[in-house]
Symmetry: C2
Subunit: 686 residues, 2 copies
């Protein structure tokens, strides 16, 4: 193949590979749906979860649509029809990835429970393939939408810059959906979980997933709408924004066709690598954790080989960025940094949240002296967990910038996110096994089944923590790229260079206000979960008082009523925090473009720490409880266990609501800032 083949057909190839990804997603869907769905009782429970999840997502779509229409109109007015069209494409694809993925997850759960009665590896395969559907959908839809949209708009207007500009609309659409999905889903899942536990475990001494608890179906629905649909929208957004950022920076700082094509090709090739990783997990029989970790490692190795080939083909003589000559080897190193970052984040998150390492065991030990010392230890570990990721991000930015400037950083981010397909498969695996365990208990399946789903659930717990670290760390790495896009676009618009010097008081004020955003945002998230959980507690208490037979098993609880209450509460509580970034960006734009620039960096700086510390602490608390339940420090029912349950409950909104929602919030702030440039800073144009 001549060296110019990839250059000329790169985007088409990427689109073709995204279609391959979609085809495999549908093959996996057929495979999952075709598996044995168990007996009637299991089907009834699964159906209740499906109904609840679908009902919630439909109502969320309705609620978000109202806001989306307003934003759509504003985008059209500010940036024209093409950008507005991009907004719609981004929003619809983000929704679709989450929606379809979740509808498969709620079918995979019952089939995993059934497969667990055959063997552990069968259960692993069903759950993993259910998750892989979401993973493949996210990357395939992401690459397809950005690629096709890019080709169409590039053909329809004169200037390539406009085409790329309108991709920003696509980014906004996906980010907006993502922040709502993360928030709404996050509030839903944790309100149901905390609410069910507070009455069920603490007041009535019921076990997890006891069918006598009226909130138990809502709890299982929550796993799907939060950990599955919300997560998928979040990573879709991260993937799309990274790819668009790479294209944007390639166009603005390098300016050649090759630099624009390259990010598309990396994403396309990574789909092949992800498919091979998925194949590994399906066909090579190993212990669960080993199988999943090897799947990711195989994908990484394949990807690095393909990336080497692509870099050589697209840039046979290297590239020039301004005055700087960059060899293709150096550019490959940038892509490799992205892959290494993925592995590093997996390793670091695993260290801080797995039961095998010191941090979780310290928290478990601290539980011996009660809930207060458990919480103190958890917060301390969470803050400490920011150290290594931030140093890794700093080193990656330094290295990539030295190798290939801002474009080098953008490529590292694209490369890091290109493996989302396989990484998400691990994550979505978690809620499926969690649900499978719930169904096993509720349907009264034998103890052996529950044992297998419990083991898989513990693996899923750590894997779930990984994706959150991955998303927020990629945002940190992308900080320069996102800010760079704002500055380049701004300078383009106002027609002169704009400096953002730290000696400029407006920049520092902007950073303070931007730094405030993650703190205020997470404050709202935490209290939203508290409020919604309170509603669940009151409803469960009401049902138990009205029908005392529920507790003895002679009355059936009204599950649907709980589902309905959480749905309403989650949708009501998500609006204010979701609008915060919008309000902040518009308000600060009146203080000028320097202050707005400060806001972008300020939000990333504090957001990175808030996000990482919250997701890590939450994961560590959860597994400290699991570690005690394994028989350490007195085991289940001991004083230490009670303390650890408190820590886990505090960790719930940390790791599943507030922490992960910080990532899409950062993106919304950055993209909004770019979008309002033409209206906010008209007066500055010279």
């Amino acid at each position: 193949m001549p060296p110019s083949f990839l250059l000329q057909n790169g985007i088409t190839l990427a689109i073709a590979l995204s279609v391959v990804g979609l085809v495999f997603a549908f093959i996996l869907i057929k495979k999952v749906v075709g598996a044995d769905a168990g007996n009637e009782k299991m089907a009834a429970i699964a159906s209740a979860i499906q109904q609840g999840a679908k009902a919630y997502l439909n109502r969320q779509v309705m609620a978000v649509s109202l806001i989306a229409v307003v934003v759509f109109a504003a985008v059209w007015w500010l940036r024209g029809g093409l950008t507005a069209a991009g907004f719609v494409v981004g929003a619809v694809c983000s929704l679709a990835a989450g929606y379809i993925g979740m509808m498969i997850a709620v079918r995979a759960n019952v089939r995993t429970a059934q497969a667990a009665s055959v063997s552990s590896h069968s259960a692993l395969k069903v759950a993993f393939n259910g998750g892989a559907v979401t993973g493949l959908l996210v990357v395939a839809l992401g690459l397809l939408s950005v690629g096709v949209f890019f080709l169409i708009v590039r053909g329809s207007v004169d200037h390539a810059k406009h085409a790329i500009d309108s991709l920003v609309g696509l980014a906004l659409g996906s980010s907006l959906i993502s922040v709502f999905a993360r928030l709404g889903g996050g509030i839903y899942t944790k309100a149901a979980d905390v609410g069910a536990d507070l009455v069920g475990k603490n007041e009535q001494n019921l076990n997890e997933d006891d069918p006598r608890n009226p909130a138990t179906i809502a709890d299982n629905v929550g796993d799907n709408v939060g950990d599955c649909a919300g997560m998928a929208a979040d990573v879709f957004e991260t993937y799309a924004v990274s790819l668009i950022g790479g294209v944007l920076v390639g166009h603005l700082t390098v300016g050649t066709e090759a630099a624009v094509v390259y990010p598309f090709v990396l994403c396309g090739l990574a789909i092949i690598a992800s498919l091979i990783g998925i194949g590994w997990v399906n066909f090579i029989k190993q212990e669960a954790t080993a199988s999943l970790v090897c799947g990711v490692a195989v994908s990484g190795i394949v990807a690095s080989g393909l990336f080497w080939w692509a870099t050589q083909s697209i840039f046979p003589a290297g590239l020039k960025i301004g005055e700087l000559a960059v060899s293709n080897v150096n550019l490959f190193y940038c892509a490799a940094v992205g892959l290494v970052m993925t592995l590093l984040v997996v390793w670091i998150t695993n260290y801080y949240t797995s039961t095998h390492h010191k941090p979780v065991r310290l928290i478990a030990k601290a539980s011996e002296t009660g809930p207060a010392t458990n919480i103190i230890a958890g917060i301390s570990i969470g803050n400490q967990a920011t150290l290594l990721p931030v140093l890794a991000i700093a080193a990656a930015i330094w290295g990539c910038y030295d190798l290939a400037g801002l474009y080098g950083i953008a490529i590292a981010v694209v490369s890091m996110l290109s493996l989302s397909g396989i990484v998400i498969s691990l994550d979505a695996f978690g809620p499926i096994t969690d649900n499978a365990g719930g169904i096993a208990v509720m349907a009264g399946l034998p103890e052996s089944v529950r044992k297998i789903t419990d083991e898989l659930d513990a693996v899923g717990n750590t894997m779930k923590a990984v994706t959150k670290g991955y998303a927020i760390a990629s945002a940190g790495l992308a900080a320069m790229v996102l800010f760079g896009s704002y500055v380049e676009d701004l300078q383009d618009f106002v027609g002169h260079k704009v400096a953002f010097d730290l000696m400029d008081h407006r920049v520092v004020i902007g950073m303070f206000i931007g730094g405030l955003l993650p703190f205020l945002f997470t404050s709202f998230c935490m209290s939203a979960v508290g409020n919604a959980a309170g509603a669940v507690v009151r409803e469960v208490r009401r049902q138990i008082t009205a029908k005392p037979g529920i507790l003895t098993g002679s009355d059936i609880p009204d599950y649907a009523q709980c589902v309905d209450i959480v749905t309403k509460a989650a949708l009501g509580q998500m609006i204010v925090p979701a609008l915060l970034p919008l309000i902040f960006v518009i308000a600060v734009s009146f203080l000028g473009m320097e202050a707005l620039g400060g806001v972008l960096i300020g939000t990333i700086v504090t957001g990175l720490f808030v996000g990482i510390s919250m997701t890590s602490a939450g994961g560590a608390w959860d597994n400290a409880k699991k570690f005690i339940e394994e028989g350490n420090h007195g085991g289940k029912g001991s004083f230490a266990h009670q303390a650890a349950v408190t820590g886990d409950t505090v960790g719930d909104p940390y790791k599943d609501t507030a922490g992960p929602a910080v990532n899409p919030m950062i993106k919304v702030v950055n993209i909004l800032a770019i979008l309002i440039i033409p209206i906010a800073f008209k007066a500055v144009v010279k």
Copy 2:
């Protein structure tokens, strides 16, 4: 008096007024020590607390001296003898303010208990005057040392710049002592408190201050070494650094004698205002809170009048800053902003931490569903509490910069800190009444005495939260000033302009690493308290097991052993976090001056939020418990109360160890950065 009088004699006048402050401090000391010290039993308890506090502080001085000698040698080598001399003056004065203040506090406590058997107002007066000693010492020693040192060094070298430079040594000396005092004292007080509570309240069902608890004396010692000595060193440092910052910026950006004299004069006049406020509390009989708040308000009103006069006298025709002409009215507005900020911080902190407002009541309500929801609510409130202070800081920076540039901000900071004398009096009042209550219980004084000390203690709780907010908010306001000093000094050294643009990846990397510091630092602080408290728990359990008669009252516990263990643990645990800023600054200096500049701003941005959210959440948790103890949500002993006790314990290291230590840590980073310029960036000089 001719308008030039103040200009020519301003520094001398300021020094004279600082001597007046010292004289009044000694009058108050005589007054406090001369009060009735109660019966023999009370004297014995008070003496045990005194011995413990003195022993701890002596050992802390020894430990810090070792490090100080190394730093002293390094400063001498880097910056010469004068700066090293400044370092010694700063360190000694910072220590002295804390030491003397604490020695009075441990005498005022027993006298407050005795006065409480006379009347509430007598007790208030003794406690307040004991606190006022520390307040006056801090401002008088601060102003005296900076003023005298400035006059001496200015006479001894040719260039005024060198004189001001060596003041940086003084700032470093006070900051270094302050970070150790805040950390060591903070770890001590909370380890003793948490340790005593964990065994005493949770395991043995003993009340607070029960003499059968072997850790009870250590707990009372902790109030003095942490809340009194540690706080005094902290505010001394903040005061001295603000004054030096004002002088530095006056010299560098305005360059006239008037601009250098003005900050000294403001500080001197504020001592008069503080003395009048102290007189108000002593001579006007009011309800406790009203009396204290009026005292501050009176000081503020008097200060604003004096500041108006001083501004008119020193700048009869305004001043010129570069091209900018600033009227004296505008400069006065900057000073007024500082006074208003003080009142705002008092008001905001009071809103978030007093039992009369919504935030504390929300936490109390959340306690009904257990410790987890109490913690979630507290963290949410803590994060939310950053909103108003940060907006106020942003507005103040914006306004002062518009009025008079960087000098305007510096003046606002000086003015804000100039009222430290009266603000500290309120703060040091807290531990004295807390101790008085302890002594009343241990000495078996009648219930009515305990009732009075309890009421005063509740007032003291909110007042204590105020000073912490005040110190950290002033650091936020001073951010531009501190950073500006680094940049000016750096440019002076390298001989050309240095830009710190957010598009420079080194600046962003620096900000990430700087932003990491407060998270890592507080992580160490939290685990230090956990570790030291664990040592206390083991010792108390050991004593109770060895001598079961302790619980029945037939055996006397070995208080001294507990005091000794906390002392060793606190000193051992403070070293690593105290050295963190040193390590970070030196390590990042290898990445260049742009990265180091980023570190300074990054540390302030995240530090401001971490500091405010931790101190606010801690104060709110404490008072939520108090609110329940007043009989709400089930009152003392209820399920909600138990939950609130957990929240309070988590809040202990938040508000008294980690949160307040962030402020001196930020300062150490900033001052160290200035000091290492000549060695770190030698290669860059053109």
